[in-house]
Symmetry: C2
Subunit: 233 residues, 2 copies
């Protein structure tokens, strides 16, 4: 029996961060599934495990704790599974990286498909995507990533910031080779960190399972179709 | 001399959460100002106090710490100024509320003005706005807000979740009386909590200063103009 139930759509996207933190910590979980999510979202807030607008929602059954908001869930898992640094500044910086990753997902889907990708929109977005990548690169550089082949925020073992970084960019670049080429050019240290962390057995296994369970799917919907079109993927 | 420098545009909006947490903790800070923000954002990531895409950015000069991402800054201040509960579940729930508040700001500006408000868009959004409000209401109810006249997550003193809740809804309802009417109907316990917390002297003083410094401004730009138009504000 798993200790956790995760409610997230059957695509990787934002839920994959939570799955990856659980997998990285050697935890198992049950997926609530699309139907249950739709039912919770369509029902009364009184009946929700935690009052929420959209998934992911995580239920920690043993602790009797339910949470929504990806970065709050990741904070909770980071604290309870001991994957966050001890110093408040580094803890907050790790959560800053998590929130940056969340913003990149919003932008890559034009805020949940508020608009659709066109050639022109993508063309105009590429400099901003490169700037996001350079934000990761510079963060790593400030913590010695160019010297140590270590981790994003320094330290001797991968933590929340590394797992989230690896999942963000590896999930995206595996599905969109054009973005992989951009990452390798704009942020080579980050690209190499992403490879090293994504290849850790528990995370590689999770990625293989995502391909098995969700196929090529990334975020789903019309917005994914429009992204595939401009990226010829 | 202040210990902190806050870089945020000269409007309340997302930066007001950081200002409010600082004010609530009795701290002073210097505002970096619009020109400095524009210069940092237009410059190289190497020259930024922390690599960031958009403000708020907080510099804690004494601790030599710089952070971006509103919710990461609030986590840092919450930890270092002792405004977060001790239990990981309640800490994460407080940060869930902060992230919900951040999402509401995205939605009320149609994701930073990606589209403009029209009568029809606003009309279609009202049920979702009420749902957001009911998420606050149900959160408070689960922690006894209907019995205690206490705080959002229970407890005997206001914390991060209460300050952020008060700033989110009081800043919005002061400027848009139509939203105030919706809040009072959809989430009366929350509306009352917001009033009680916003009236605390340090927060009331901050709100008065915002009116003095920024006038009626909320988020600024064309999106604010379109919001004022549909809300006749």
């Amino acid at each position: 029996m798993s200790d956790y139930v995760l409610y997230y759509w059957s695509v990787p996207f934002r839920g994959q961060f939570v799955r990856a933190v659980l997998a990285f910590a050697g935890k198992t979980w049950t997926e609530g599934g699309d139907d249950a999510i739709a039912q919770l979202m369509g029902g009364a807030v009184e009946d929700m495990p935690v009052p929420f607008m959209g998934p992911p929602v995580l239920v920690d059954k043993k602790a009797n704790v339910s949470l929504s908001q990806m970065s709050a869930i990741v904070l909770y898992l980071g604290e309870t599974l001991h994957l966050l640094p001890a110093a408040p500044a580094l803890r907050a910086l790790a959560m800053k990286v998590v929130n940056d990753a969340n913003d990149v997902l919003d932008e890559i889907t034009l805020d949940g498909g508020r608009e659709m990708w066109t050639e022109k929109r993508w063309h105009d977005f590429v400099p901003r995507l490169k700037k996001w990548m350079s934000i990761w690169e510079e963060t790593g550089r400030r913590h010695g990533l160019h010297k140590t082949k270590g981790f994003l925020l320094g330290g001797e073992a991968p933590g929340i910031a590394d797992v989230v970084t690896a999942v963000l960019w590896s999930t995206m670049t595996e599905r969109f080779p054009k973005i992989e080429a951009i990452l390798e050019e704009a942020a080579p240290l980050t690209a190499s960190l992403v490879k090293r962390v994504a290849e850790l057995p528990l995370l590689a296994e999770l990625a293989a399972k995502a391909r098995e369970d969700y196929g090529d799917a990334y975020c789903g919907g019309q917005i994914e179709a429009s992204l595939r079109k401009v990226l010829k993927a």
